[in-house]
Each structure stands twice: as C-alpha cells, then as structure tokens.
Symmetry: C2
Subunit: 207 residues, 2 copies
Amino acid sequence: MTVMTRRTQDQRSTETRRLLLAATVQMLMDVGYANTSTAGIAKRAGVSRGAQTHHYPSKMDLIVAATEEMFGNYAAGLEALAEDLRNGVLDFDGFFDAVWNEVLHGDWFYSSLEIIVAARGDAGLRHQLSPLILDLHDRFEAIWSKTFVAVNPEVISSRMALNLALNVFRGMAVQAVLRRDEAYFREMLITLKTMLAGHVRPASGPA
Amino acid sequence: MTVMTRRTQDQRSTETRRLLLAATVQMLMDVGYANTSTAGIAKRAGVSRGAQTHHYPSKMDLIVAATEEMFGNYAAGLEALAEDLRNGVLDFDGFFDAVWNEVLHGDWFYSSLEIIVAARGDAGLRHQLSPLILDLHDRFEAIWSKTFVAVNPEVISSRMALNLALNVFRGMAVQAVLRRDEAYFREMLITLKTMLAGHVRPASGPA
DNA sequence: TCAAAAAAACCAACCAGCTTGTTTTTAAAG
DNA sequence: CTTTAAAAACAAGCTGGTTGGTTTTTTTGA
C-alpha cells in the first residue's frame, strides 16, 4: 500500500525534490548529459512533469541543485574514508584504493564530469557552478590537511600533493571511459601511491 | 575572384571533407558536444547540408572521422615538441610547459574530452572510438620512449611516468573549466615536473 | 574527337520525434 | 477560502535523417 496519508506541504515538497535530484544524478551517470532530459528525469523520479517544473522551473535550476547535493555527498564520502584512515581502519594504500574505487564505481565522479563538460559550453551554468566547485575544493583541502602532513613542505606542500592525487584520479577516470584495462589502472595506482608516499604521510594521532 | 575552375572530383571531395572535419573540431571546442549539430557544422564549414550528408551520412560518421584527424594532429604536435627536446631546442621544463600550453589552449584536448564524455553515454560511438584512442596512446608511448629514459625502471617505468603526466594534464584541464586560477596551475605544473624529474631524464643523444 | 551516358558531388525542402518552457486545471493543505 | 503542490495539455523550436532533384566531372563508345 503506497497511499500517502496527509503529509504536510513541506514533507510533500521535500520528498518530491529529493526524488528529482536523485533521478537527475542517476540519469547523468547512466546516460550522460546529452541524453538527460527534464522529461526523462521526471519519469525516472516517478513524478509528473508539472511537479518538476513547479520545483525547478528551468533545466539549469535542476542541474545546479543536483550538483549542490552531489558535491555534499562527495565531500562526505571522502571525509568518511579519511576518518577510517585516521582511525587506522584503512592504511595508506587502502585509503587510496578506496578513493579510486569510489571515483570509478560511484555515481559522483562521472556525474560531475558530465556537468563540468556541459558547463564549458554554457556560460550561465558555468557561473552558477564555479562557486560550488570552489567550495567543494575547500572542503577537500580541509579534510586532507587534517589527514596528511607533508614530509618536506618546501619541495611539495600537502595541498599540492592532494591536487596531484585528485588530478591523477580525474585523468584516470576520463581515460577509463574508452580504455578498460584493469592491469594498467592497477599499475597506475601503485605509481601514484609511490609518488605520494615520498611526500606525505598520515597524520598519526589527532592534531 | 573565387571562381573554381574545374577541380577534379577527388579535389572537390577532399576539400569538402577537410572543411567539414575542421568545422566539427572547432565547433566541439567552441560550444561543446551538446550544442554541436550537423546543421551547425555544415553552416560553419560553408558547405550545404546535402554535401555534408553525402560525405558523412550520420552524425557519428562525422564525429568519428573528425576524431581520427584530430588524434593524428595531436600525436604530430607532441612529436614536434619531443623532437625539440631531443634537439636541445627545449629543455626538460620547457617541454612540459609547452605540452601544458597545448593542452590548455590548443583545440585538441577539449575537443577530444567532449567526444570521450559523449561516448560514455553512447555505446556505438564508444566502440568506434576505442581503437582510435588505443592507437593514439601507442603513438604517445613510441614518442615518449625515444625521448625519455627511466632513472630507476624497477620503481617507476618510463611508460608509467608518461601516463602519470598525461593523467595529471587531463585532470588539470578538466579542473580548469571551472577554476581559472593561473597561480595554482603554475604551481601544479612545477609539482608535476619535480615528481617526474626524479624518475625520468631526457635521452641525451639518439639511441 | 566529341556527344551521350553514367557517376559523383552537391543542394534544398521536408518529416517525425523530441526538447524545454508555458499555460490551464485539478487536488491537497493550511 | 486562500495558497501551494501536482498534473496534463499545449506551443515553438531544434534535432538528425531522408528524399527528390541539380550541377559537375568522368567514362563510354561511335
């Protein structure tokens, strides 16, 4: 029985929005930006097109809101892994293995890649997304800085080590679209970890 | 006077195809895959829509052909820079600066990014592009292996150093879409060069 | 050599389907 | 009874692909 008994307006709105944003992220992940339509999102969310336009009048509103939520999840996911590392649940290698696994198999990375690439050709979208990306990046840095310390900050700072890792993961994920070569990615990951190990180490205890 | 006097069929075809492929790459670069239409390409190429469909019946034919040409230019560009390095025209730093400059400001990288991302949501395109990417990658490896030698191949092979650099550049370029921070990219580039310098060095003379 | 026939390149209009966004109605909550 | 949420029908525009016809080049054969 799925008969909804007297939800408040706020409950109705919140639930509908949640369904729409989840459907947006999933659709970006599954079929890409080019094949993501507002009608398709509404259908996948199990919501009428009218309800969708009521909450998110334009497609851009939908994309921006979905990105906001997605980035929140993205940061939360990384923080969870970082906490595992700090607690000793994961070791240095295990941490980066887990991050790579999330990038490759989670919804977040490719959904955001679709949006970023779409933003390249859409000035309006780009201006709305820029602050979101900067904010996400700040959160990444905050998480990283309490999880790792630089071995020799004069040569390579902790911040640059983070960005090196992020950029390698980005590059690998893009490459993985057309190159399904498990062995190569495993070796690449080892290479990255080797490089990083020379420049950062886990911050042992709490600061 | 632009009156064309009796070109052979082959000349006509070749020129029309050239115009269409150049317009395709430019359009992908300028407005992105989402805003690239076959009609738009024909218009930008100064060619009738009929001529376009004659030479490239489907949009995918156009994209695949453009990708093929683009990758050829991509490899040729890298080879030119590598040769400069081998000849001493560029030094280690200058080579990577030049590569990064090409990635960020040339037509190639972002056009191919658009296509790769589009291919993620289009199985047909993906299967046509996979071999092209693998071939490009082989050419990269061939160029790299006659230009650099690994300092300590047991730890990090020359091939992995290449891929590390490629992945970092890819990641940086994606990031650059929404983050225009010249200082950050300069520092990132220095970090990358520092990392690489510890593991590969230019192959001095010819092998 | 040179017209006629064939082939290739090119052009313009059309079509069916899908896009986003708007407008009109209906239902539910306050 | 007023306001908000949800639903449905509508409208204008663009997409890729197809089709019928024209021009240019190449081939044929007398």
